[in-house]
């Protein structure tokens, strides 16, 4: 309804006996009668009774009447009365016309009527307040009374709104619920109705909140509670989640279209609460379709949806990440068991060798990691909770060994197979780099990192010394990766080893020059010596092998040469690592045999004797039983029978006799006779244990030196933290070291508190 001022002659107001020019005193009733005409006209317009619009003169007159009545001298200053009658005008109209009209309607019709009536009322307030405007300027201001606009709106609020609000609210909520059930409703109507609740608050949201929103939210809650109760029984988890997501979407939509924006968060929270929070565990733990099942069946979309939904409720993701962790742990543990079972079916004599199954195991663990890292990234949006769950899961099963080999050893062996020539893994350069990258990542989950380092070092030594390394770049590349992950200290020795080899080549060139320049220095045999820096390389037992005479000269020559280079170093010869090419003059043909120094020494004994007993060989070589058995086995009971054994059993015993097998031959001219390496596992573990004891000692002393006085629990905690980068120290081991340090008088127990220790300077 638009009210304007027009020149239309019909319905013009009339002053009965007055002109504007005279300034006679206007009596209250008189004046009011005039005003009443205007009010009536206004009402008619609102009611739709055909009326002229207000002309500008009429407007002026109405305004001026008020003006005059207010500015008259007492007792004719009627401000107060006019103020009161202004209000009464509204009340009268409302009670006589508006309310009856509303009372007779219901539901949607009532709502429409209300919207219309409110709109009318606003117009009425606007116009009347303009007529009575002069009151606003002085009277109201001076008395600090409620302004005309507010008075007008309040009339509606205190009468119409107050009486109708509950009915209106219920009608609106009913429509909302209908819409939820899928029916079409008049959204514009609802928007208008709800605007009333907002506007009637006159600057505050209380009416909207208390008279509508609260009940709406409660209704929403019970609506979704009912739905959830039946859905949770009937629907699978993915289906339920789809429904939940849809509901949330629709409710959000509802806010956009007719609810006030301030309701959005509260509304969505209610829905989330009823659909997700209340039934969270039931949903996640549904037997055939819950979180476990979704993970098992790789339902990536459903899991992403689960993440989206559960991240909305407080701590909603905790149980999801727990189930994820359990699942990954179970998968990993299953791999361990698989490998264990496969390993236990191996032949007895191969038990200590890390075999194919273990290789496969590491591969599978890598694949598992890739798979679930992708899950964390794609389904779970890289959330830290899931990264943590993945990490903890891997830490559980990655520290389980397989068939007596620790995971540290398995990983080191895996690397060895990739890096050595003729290893079981045949991959492209790129694939190798990628795989090494992943292996280093897995290392983060292993607590015995120092054990890995030691195994790796041992195998690296073997690769370097026996020229088995396939690719120098890869060797360096993995060392760089390990350095990044575990720090420089981890790789310093290994790097030293690689450098040693490079230097060794230089040395060798110098040695050859030396021999060429000194005729009497020639040992008569081609000799290559690799000088290793002791600290970098694993410790090797050096036995005093009785070298054959030919080799003794070699050693002497090299010693002399080395003296010319440096006088401050001591050389210790490790014959167990040497290789030798010797010619065997067999009857069929002469063949070149590539053997270890130990094997060569044994074979050369047969140049002087035709037949030797086990004990003779042992005493002449001056080696241990273990070594002798191994080397004789390789020469007489293995693939190539260079020696004949008496008796011809398959194992070596101290009563055996050996003879040179002159009949030996092979298709090739040159063969390699392998000597299987001693199992280093026990030694590695021993060495690492020893290093750990030192490390724990050093750590305890370091901590106590700086703290001076510390409780036992604190000490243990700090010690574990300090050492955590390399290994997880056993509590009992720490206790033992503390006791040892007490005996060695580095620490003492506090006299008053037996749980506290003091540093003894």
């Amino acid at each position: 309804m638009v009210l304007g001022v027009s020149q239309h002659p019909r319905g013009q107001l009339e002053w009965s006996n007055m002109t504007m020019n005279e300034r006679k005193v206007i009596d209250l009733d008189q004046g009011w009668a005039f005003m009443q005409q205007g009010i009536t006209k206004l009402k008619n317009i609102l009611e739709g009774v055909p009326q002229q619009q207000f002309s500008s003169e009429e407007y002026m007159m109405l305004y001026t009447t008020i003006y005059n009545m207010c500015t008259q001298k007492p007792p004719h200053d009627y401000s107060q009365q006019l103020y009161d009658r202004y209000k009464e005008a509204f009340d009268e109209y409302i009670n006589s016309t508006v309310m009856p009209a509303l009372r007779e309607k219901h539901d949607e019709f009532m709502l429409r009527e209300l919207v219309k009536r409110w709109s009318n009322h606003k117009v009425m307030v606007r116009w009347l307040s303009r007529f009575f405007h002069y009151l606003d300027r002085y009277f109201i201001a001076r008395r600090s009374l409620l302004g005309l606009n507010d008075v007008g709106l309040q009339c509606f609020r205190d009468s119409v709104y107050k009486e109708m609000r509950v009915k209106v609210r219920d009608a609106v909520i009913a429509l909302i619920d209908q819409e939820r059930e899928g029916e079409q409703i008049d959204r514009a109507l609802l928007k208008n109705v709800l605007d009333i609740f907002v506007e009637i608050g006159m600057g505050h949201m209380d009416c909207y909140v208390e008279d509508f929103e609260t009940e709406m939210l409660a209704d929403t809650a019970s609506y979704y509670s009912r739905k959830a109760t039946s859905w949770i029984m009937e629907d699978s988890c993915p289906d339920y989640m789809l429904k939940a997501e849809e509901c949330l979407k629709r409710e959000k939509d509802r806010v956009t279209h007719y609810l006030h924006s301030s309701s959005e968060q509260k509304l969505l929270e209610k829905v989330q609460h009823e659909l997700l929070f209340v039934y969270a565990s039931q949903l996640l733990e549904k037997e055939h379709s819950g979180c476990h099942a979704l993970l098992r069946d790789d339902k990536v979309d459903d899991l992403s949806r689960m993440y989206r939904l559960f991240c909305r409720i407080p701590k909603g993701l905790d149980p999801v990440s727990q189930i994820f962790k359990q699942h990954v742990t179970a998968e990993g543990t299953a791999l361990v068991k698989q490998a264990e079972d496969a390993a236990s079916n191996k032949k007895a004599e191969k038990k200590d060798v890390v075999g194919l199954q273990e290789q496969v195991f590491v591969r599978k663990v890598i694949e598992l990691h890739d798979k679930y890292l992708a899950y964390v990234d794609k389904c779970f949006m890289n959330h830290s909770l899931f990264h943590k769950a993945l990490k903890e899961a891997f830490e559980v099963f990655c520290n389980k060994g397989v068939a007596g080999s620790s995971s540290a050893e398995l990983l080191a062996t895996f690397c060895d197979n990739i890096l050595k020539k003729g290893g079981s893994e045949k991959l492209s350069d790129e694939a190798i780099e990628e795989t090494l990258e992943k292996v280093v990542k897995l290392l983060a989950y292993i607590s015995d990192k120092d054990l890995f380092a030691e195994f790796y070092r041992k195998k690296l030594a073997r690769r370097l010394l026996f020229d088995k390394s396939a690719n120098d770049d890869h060797e360096r590349s993995i060392l760089t990766k390990l350095k990044q992950q575990c720090g420089g200290q981890f790789t310093s020795k290994m790097e030293g080893m690689v450098t040693d080899l490079t230097l060794a080549r230089e040395h060798q060139t110098n040695f050859e020059d030396y021999i060429n320049n000194n005729a009497n220095a020639n040992p008569g045999i081609d000799l290559t010596v690799t000088v290793l820096t002791t600290g970098f390389w694993p410790s090797y037992k050096s036995f005093d092998l009785n070298l054959p005479a030919e080799m003794v000269k070699c050693v002497e020559v090299f010693k002399e040469f080395y003296q010319t280079k440096t006088k401050h170093r001591k050389l210790t010869w490790i014959y167990s690592l040497g290789t030798c090419n010797i010619n065997g003059k067999f009857d069929p043909k002469t063949m070149e045999l590539i053997v270890t120094t130990y094997q060569a020494s044994a074979l050369l004994l047969f140049n002087a004797s035709d037949r030797l007993s086990y004990s003779e060989i042992m005493s002449q070589l001056n080696l241990t039983d273990d070594d002798v058995v191994r080397l004789l086995h390789s020469l007489s009971c293995a693939k190539y029978q260079i020696l004949n054994k008496e008796p011809t059993t398959k194992t070596i015993s101290p009563s055996d006799y050996f003879e040179f097998n002159s009949k030996f031959t092979d298709r090739l001219r040159r063969i390699k006779i392998p000597l299987p390496p001693v199992d280093e596992k026990k030694k590695v573990i021993e060495d690492v244990d020893k290093d750990r004891r030192y490390a724990i000692d050093a750590s305890i002393v370091r901590i106590m030196k700086s703290r001076k006085v510390l409780s036992y629990q604190q000490l243990v905690m700090e010690c574990v933290e300090q050492l955590g980068r390399m290994f997880k120290p056993d509590f009992k081991a720490i206790k033992k070291r503390i006791e040892d340090l007490i005996t060695r008088e580095y620490l003492e127990r506090d006299k008053d508190n037996p749980n506290t220790f003091r540093y003894l300077a």
Partner: protein, 231 residues
Amino acid sequence: MRRSSSRKTGAANPASSINPSAIDPYRSASSKSAAKELERIDQLFNVYANKSSGLIDPEGIESLCSDVGVDYTDVRILMLAWKMQAAKQGYFTLEEWRKGLKALRVDSIEKLKKALSALEQEVAKPQTFLDFYSYAFRYCLTEEKQKSIDIESICELLELVLGSRYCNQVDSFIKYLKIQKDYKVINMDQWMGFLRFFDEISFPDFKNYDPDLAWPLILDNYVEWMRTNQS
């Protein structure tokens, strides 16, 4: 206490036991000057001392024991040594002898006999007992720079020093000490830990024992062993 006596235990020189002042135990030292008392103490010392070394050696201690009427392995002799703060096991110096007997207010064998029973009660008091207990360990460190005592001796010492006080606990623990293989010797810190253990921990359920505290590892192992055997 260890002994290395090669001679048969002989009775004390009969002549020296007829010491006029020793016959009258009721003539209290207070009525005589302290010097007289010291004189008697010294005389008593000479009864048992080895003439050439000037110390009471293990043989002397043995005859002292037989005169006093206690076995040389009796804990009261250890307590006497403690009272004297004797430094070397099996030997008493004159200084130590004087110190001990003066503290006990004793200058004759008769008085000594009586004093020994009273000494037991004195030692039993908590604060004194702690001191005595730690002394007992140090007393057994016979070699120079020795810091630990072998398990066998520890078992004997435990029995001697704590046997009456904590009978069941000690028996049980000694049983364990004999069969365990982790430790061949025990140091002072562990020794003191044992007393605390018997004092504080309920037996035989060990309900209030917490291995996460700083108890010596051997006790952790003992409790574990007991718990496995009990179940």
